[in-house]
């Protein structure tokens, strides 16, 4: 059994979720609390990557991230290495693609807890940042769990984009989903079944654990 794709997949999913949380949190926060008119446009923009077929999105990303692309070009001239066909490129692509799955639950959670508890935290001497960390985030814990689960699962299952941007380089960008796909295409059905079964079992175990833990969280808003 080839463990490398599994390891890369997990690394990709974990990194992507990390980046997603880092970027998604402020965006979700802004969306939940702003009164700006720009809000609906940003909201729509966030959901947009969903609309394109992954392979097509991957195609455009390949163009953008490539040596001559508007992102990849400058990146290459600064760092000397390209983005396409690298792990970093994969992370960027997956992040873009899974973005709505992280932003939406977070936004929902932030909206649900509202301003009242923040006001209480401020009045107790917490700065906006402190109140966010010590009140808004833990109260949005269930939103975070949903965001992480969706983001992680979606990255695990990601395929079209990854294939296109990653170039399926063994040990670098060859992830499990591609490996399974290869087996199916190559008529190696039993390998495909094993790998799929393993992925499902693993994911199911993780999910059950996460949800069981989530269940025990004390935060209910009502």
């Amino acid at each position: 059994m080839d463990w490398q794709p599994i390891w890369i997949t997990l690394k990709l999913a974990a990194t992507t979720v990390g980046v997603l949380l880092l970027i998604g949190t402020p965006v979700a926060w802004w969306l939940a609390h702003t009164k700006s008119r720009a809000r609906v446009w940003v909201e729509a923009g966030v959901a947009l990557p969903l609309v394109l077929p992954p392979t097509v999105l991957g195609f455009y990303l390949l163009i953008a991230l490539g040596t001559n692309g508007i992102v990849g070009g400058p990146f290459e001239s600064i760092t000397g290495s390209s983005l396409a066909f690298t792990f970093s490129g994969l992370v960027i692509a997956s992040t873009l693609y899974s973005f709505p799955f992280v932003v939406q639950p977070l936004q929902g959670a932030f909206e649900a807890s509202g301003r009242n508890y923040l006001e209480a935290a401020w009045s107790l001497g917490a700065s906006k940042w402190d109140a966010f960390i010590s009140v808004a985030s833990p109260m949005a814990l269930r939103g975070y769990v949903t965001a992480i689960v969706l983001g992680f699962a979606h990255t695990l299952g990601e395929f079209g984009v990854v294939l296109m941007v990653g170039g399926n380089i063994p040990g670098q960008t060859k992830v499990v989903s591609i490996a399974i796909y290869d087996h199916v295409e190559a008529l190696e059905y039993s390998q495909a079944h094993w790998l799929s079964g393993g992925l499902l079992l693993f994911s199911f175990t993780v999910l059950v654990t996460v949800y069981a833990f989530n269940r025990r969280l004390p935060v209910h808003l009502s």
């Binding site: 066909f85 295409e185 008529l187």
Partner: protein, 230 residues
């Protein structure tokens, strides 16, 4: 009558022009369903409503025949794939393309996944026969199919790549970039077989289409697209 042809993606473009002609001649209509050979094969096994299968290899049609999904004796090679080392940069590859492979002055070499795509398998054979496989394999990026491999190269993300001659032989790309047509002794023939599926057995237009595919004008067109023939 109507006929549904399942075709490997790499042959879709030639097929379209062939169909125009066939429809004009026969009055039948042809619907095409394109996809990777592996996918089409799985679909046929599970009851897809296809009459004719134009595979990118010879193995899948043979398997279908064995499993009774295709009509025995109808299988033939409609085209033989040729591979080409191609770059979008008009000056990168000169007449003897081997040079660039030996000199390694590129960062990425694209080829199709050898496990799933016959063109990928052929490309690997080429490298092995040139004794370059070990030294070049770190530079390889794999497209899932020959179409994706072509995009890697066309967008410049891979400087060079092994693609199908039929792709760069596409009239819209004539003389773009630079190329080295790989000598046929460096790889095993990529026989692309066609077969009549059981669903099409009772459909005269399906047989008519296969006959048309064997006809000289059709073969001529196929050759023009950069395929060889048996």
């Amino acid at each position: 009558g109507e006929v549904t042809v399942a075709v490997a993606s790499n042959f879709l473009n030639p097929l379209k022009t062939l169909i125009q002609e066939f429809q004009k001649q026969s009055g039948h209509t042809v619907r095409t369903v394109s996809g990777s050979t592996g996918k089409l094969y799985a679909q046929i096994l599970h009851g897809a409503p296809f009459d004719v299968f134009l595979s990118a290899d010879s193995e899948r049609p043979r398997l279908l025949e064995q499993e009774g999904q295709a009509v025995a004796g109808t299988r033939f090679t409609y085209a033989r794939g040729k591979i080409v080392l191609w770059s979008a940069d008009p000056h990168r590859i000169n007449a003897d393309g081997q040079n660039i492979l030996h000199r390694k002055n590129f960062r990425r070499l694209a080829l199709a996944n050898p496990k799933t795509a016959p063109y990928g398998k052929a490309a690997v054979t080429v490298l092995k026969r040139l004794n370059l496989w070990t030294s070049l394999s770190p530079l390889i990026v794999q497209g899932e199919n020959i179409g994706q491999t072509f995009q890697f190269v066309a967008t410049g993300n891979a400087e060079i790549g092994f693609v199908a001659l039929s792709q760069v032989g596409d009239p819209r790309l004539k003389n773009k970039g630079s190329r080295w047509i790989v000598p046929e002794h460096l790889y095993d023939a990529i026989d692309q077989d066609a077969v009549l599926l059981t669903r099409g057995e009772s459909q005269p237009p399906a047989r008519a289409f296969l006959l048309f595919l064997k006809s000289d004008p059709a073969r001529e067109r196929i050759l023009n697209y950069g395929y060889g023939l048996k």
